[in-house]
Symmetry: C2
Subunit: 406 residues, 2 copies
C-alpha cells in the first residue's frame, strides 16, 4: 500500500537500521532454540516476590502518586538511593547529578541528542555496544575506534585516536558488551590521563559493574578521573558521565536506569527528556525504590553473581571440551557475555544460519564493529540459559563449527 508518508522520511532514517540482536530475539522465542544470542538476564533471578510485595505496598500507601505524572528528573527518594548506592563504589554524587532514564538505552539516546552534531566523531572501543551505535547513528555520528584485547581497550593506541578530535570517549570498562573483558587498572589510569591531557570527556557505561564473580573490584573511570584532579575532596568532578541501570541487578522489564553527570548536563538532558517521553514511569520508580532500599540491591546482586558464575563456568568448561582447535574465547570475570574468535577466513553471519538449523543461536560479531571487521567473531551470552541448556547448546554449536573448520 502506498501512502503519502513514503516520500517523507527524514535523511537520518537512512542510517537507522534494525538491530541484528533485536531481530534475533525472534528466534529466542522459539522454545526449541537454545539461544546464546540475546542479552537477557536469567528470568530465574528476577525478584518476583519482592516486586509483588512492593506493588501492593506502593498502591496501598501512595497509589494516586504512583499512577500520576511525575517530574522529568525522577522520583527524589530513588535518586537519593542511587546517590547512596554510588557512593559505596567511590562515586560521590548528589541527587542533582542524577537523572532517571527509561533504561540505559534512553540515556544513550539523550546524550546523543544533546551532544552529537552530524559528522561528530565518537571514540569507541571496537567491538563496542551495539545499542550505543544505534542511538548515535540517528544523530549522524561517525566513529574513531580503538581495538581491544583481554585487558579491554588498548590504551597504547588511544593517543592517535584522540588526535582526531573526538567529541567524547565511550567505554564499557567492566565485563564489556560484547566481549566480556574488563579494562585493567593500568589502562584505566592511562585512559583518564590521556583524556585529561587532550581535554576529551568520557562516557562510562557500567551496566554490569556489580556482577563480578571473582577477582577484585576495580575503581571506576569516574573515580580515577576525580583522583587526578587538583581538588581531592571526592565529590563528583564531571569529566566523566557515568551510566548504570537496574536492568541487570533487578529486572529489565521495568526499564529503569540512571545517568550521573554535572548539574548543567543534567539540566540539558532533562530538557531533551521532556521532549522525548516527559518522564519515566512514576509507578516503576516508586516500586523499584521499594524493592531496592534497605540493602536489597547489594544482597540480590550477590545472588545473581552466584547463578551467573555457575553458568559461565559451565560454558567455559564445555567449550574447552568440545570446541575445535582454531576457536578462541575470552574468560570474563563477570557480566553476561563472552566473545569467541574463529579462524580468520570464516564469517559468523553465514555460520548463524547453520547454527539456527541446529537449534542454537549467537550474535555475529560484525554488528559490534562501527567501522567494519570482526567477521570471524561472535558474542555468546551465558546468563540466560540454564546450565543443562548451556551444555547442550554448546555441543550443538561446536558440532556446527567442527563441520566447518575440519
Amino acid at each position: 500500500m502506498q501512502t503519502p508518508w513514503d516520500y517523507r522520511y527524514a535523511q537520518r532514517t537512512q542510517r537507522m537500521g534494525s538491530s541484528a540482536i533485536r531481530e534475533l530475539l525472534k528466534f529466542t522465542e522459539q522454545p526449541e532454540i537454545i539461544s546464546f544470542a540475546g542479552g537477557l538476564p536469567a528470568p530465574d533471578v528476577f525478584p518476583v516476590k519482592e516486586f509483588a510485595e512492593a506493588c501492593q505496598r506502593v498502591l496501598q500507601d501512595c497509589g494516586a502518586q504512583a499512577l500520576q505524572y511525575g517530574t522529568t528528573e525522577g522520583y527524589q527518594p530513588l535518586r537519593e538511593m542511587i546517590a547512596r548506592h554510588s557512593s559505596r563504589f567511590g562515586i560521590h554524587a548528589s541527587p542533582e547529578n542524577i537523572l532517571i532514564t527509561s533504561g540505559s538505552q534512553q540515556a544513550l539516546d539523550l546524550l546523543g541528542k544533546i551532544f552529537i552534531n552530524r559528522g561528530d566523531r565518537i571514540l569507541v572501543e571496537s567491538p563496542t555496544y551495539l545499542g550505543a551505535l544505534q542511538a548515535w547513528n540517528a544523530y549522524g555520528a561517525e566513529y574513531v575506534s580503538v581495538p581491544s584485547d583481554e585487558d579491554g581497550m588498548i590504551t597504547d593506541a588511544l593517543e592517535e585516536a584522540l588526535r582526531t578530535g573526538p567529541k567524547f570517549i565511550y567505554i564499557l570498562p567492566n565485563f564489556q558488551n560484547p566481549t566480556g573483558v574488563t579494562l585493567s587498572l593500568k589502562r584505566r589510569h592511562q585512559l583518564v590521563t590521556l583524556a585529561d591531557r587532550y581535554g576529551v570527556p568520557i562516557i562510562e557505561d557500567d551496566p554490569y559493574g556489580q556482577l563480578r564473580f571473582e577477582g577484585e573490584h576495580l575503581p571506576s573511570v569516574v573515580y580515577l578521573d576525580g583522583e587526578i584532579r587538583a581538588n581531592h575532596d571526592n565529590t563528583y568532578r564531571g569529566n566523566v558521565i557515568y551510566l548504570s541501570t537496574f536492568s541487570k541487578i533487578l529486572a529489565p522489564g521495568i526499564r529503569l536506569a540512571w545517568v550521573i553527570a554535572p548539574p548543567e548536563v543534567i539540566r540539558k538532558l532533562v530538557q531533551a527528556k521532556q521532549g522525548a517521553d516527559l518522564h519515566t514511569a512514576t509507578f516503576n520508580q516508586i516500586v523499584a525504590y521499594e524493592v531496592g532500599r534497605g540493602g536489597f540491591l547489594d544482597q540480590h546482586a550477590k545472588y545473581i553473581c552466584q547463578v551467573y558464575k555457575e553458568r559461565r563456568d559451565v560454558m567455559l568448561e564445555v567449550m574447552e571440551e568440545v570446541m575445535p582447535s582454531g576457536v578462541h574465547w575470552t574468560h570474563p570475570q563477570g557480566g553476561l557475555f563472552l566473545w569467541a574468535t574463529l579462524p580468520e577466513d570464516l564469517d559468523t553471519a553465514d555460520i548463524l544460519k547453520l547454527a539456527i538449523e541446529k537449534k542454537v543461536a549467537f550474535v555475529p560479531g560484525t554488528s559490534f564493529h562501527p567501522n567494519g571487521g570482526g567477521k570471524n567473531t561472535m558474542r555468546l551470552n551465558f546468563s540466560y540459559s540454564r546450565p543443562k541448556e548451556i551444555q547442550e547448546g554448546m555441543v550443538r554449536l561446536a558440532s556446527v563449527l567442527t563441520e566447518i573448520i575440519k
Copy 2:
C-alpha cells in the same frame, strides 16, 4: 563548575528549552496553591484497586515474562486489545499497524525523528499542544500555523497554509489541548478533503476522544479520510497517523500510549524506538492489558466523564459569576481544559506572578503559539482540582483579574 562538556553541546540544544508547563508543575507541588496549570488527571479516578489486583495476577502468572526484556513493537495481546478498542470508533487497524510507546510524548518524538529534516514546515493549529513543539523543535522543525475558534482549526485558512508545502498536518480534533475546543464535522470533512488534494498527510493526536461529557461523538479524522478514498472496505488507509494513550483513561504514571500507522511507518518507528529506549516497560504493558480488558476501559471512561463533567460545570458556573467583563472563555464538551482570553493589552505571563501570590496557577497562553501571539490568553485545567477547590481557585483568579482590568 566548568567541565569539558560545556563546549560540546549539539546545535539542536539551542532550540530545546524547558517547558513552562513542566516548570509550573513545581508550584502545583505546594499544597496551598490551587493549580489550574498542570494537565493532570484527577487522582481520584485512578483505578488503584484494579491495578493492585492486576499486578498480583501478572506477577503470579507470568512474573518472569513481565520483568524481562520484550519486543520493541509491544506486547501482542495489548496491541490486539487496542485494535479491537479502535475498531469500535471506526478505526479498523490490525496489530501490525500498532506500536506501543512510552506515552504519546514518545510517539511525537519518534515521528519527529523519522520525518523531520531541519527546516521542514509542520502545519499546526495555533495554539497547539506544547509537547509536540518541544519534541519537534529538537529536529529543527518550523511551523506554519492556522488559527482556531470555537469550532477548532479554521479550515477556510487551511488552503493557504497547505500551499507552503508542509511535511504534515498536526491536529488535536477532540477537546484540544490547550483550548478545549472540538473540530466540527464540517471542518473535519474540509480538512481531509484539502489534505488529500494537496497530498499532505495528517497526524491526528487524540488523547481525550473518549472523554466526551455531552453532545454526539464525532467521527475521527482517520475514519473520514478512509471514507473519501476509492476503496470503502473500512480498513486502515494510512494517510492519517493516529495517536492515543492510556494516560487519560487509565493513568499517566504508567507511561503507555500507541501509534496507529501504515506497517512501513511502524517499521521505521520501531527502528527509531530501538535506538531510543529498546521497548516500553513489559510489566506496564501486561498490567495495563490486565486492567483494561473485558470492557473496563469503556466503563471506566464513563466514570471519568461523570467526574470531569461536574468539575467543568463548576468551573464554568463560577467563572460566569465572578469573572470581570472583558474575559472570555471556551465551553468544552469534554477533555481536561478550557481556554480564557483577556483584553488584548494584558499579558498573562505577568499576571501569573500575581496569581501565584494569591495561591492560584494557570499556564500563560504564549507557550502554545509556535509563531508568537496569544499573550492575553491562558489555559485552565478543570480535571485535577476538586469542585470546592475549583470554586475557591476561580474566586482567587477572578480577584487578581478584577484588580487589573478595573
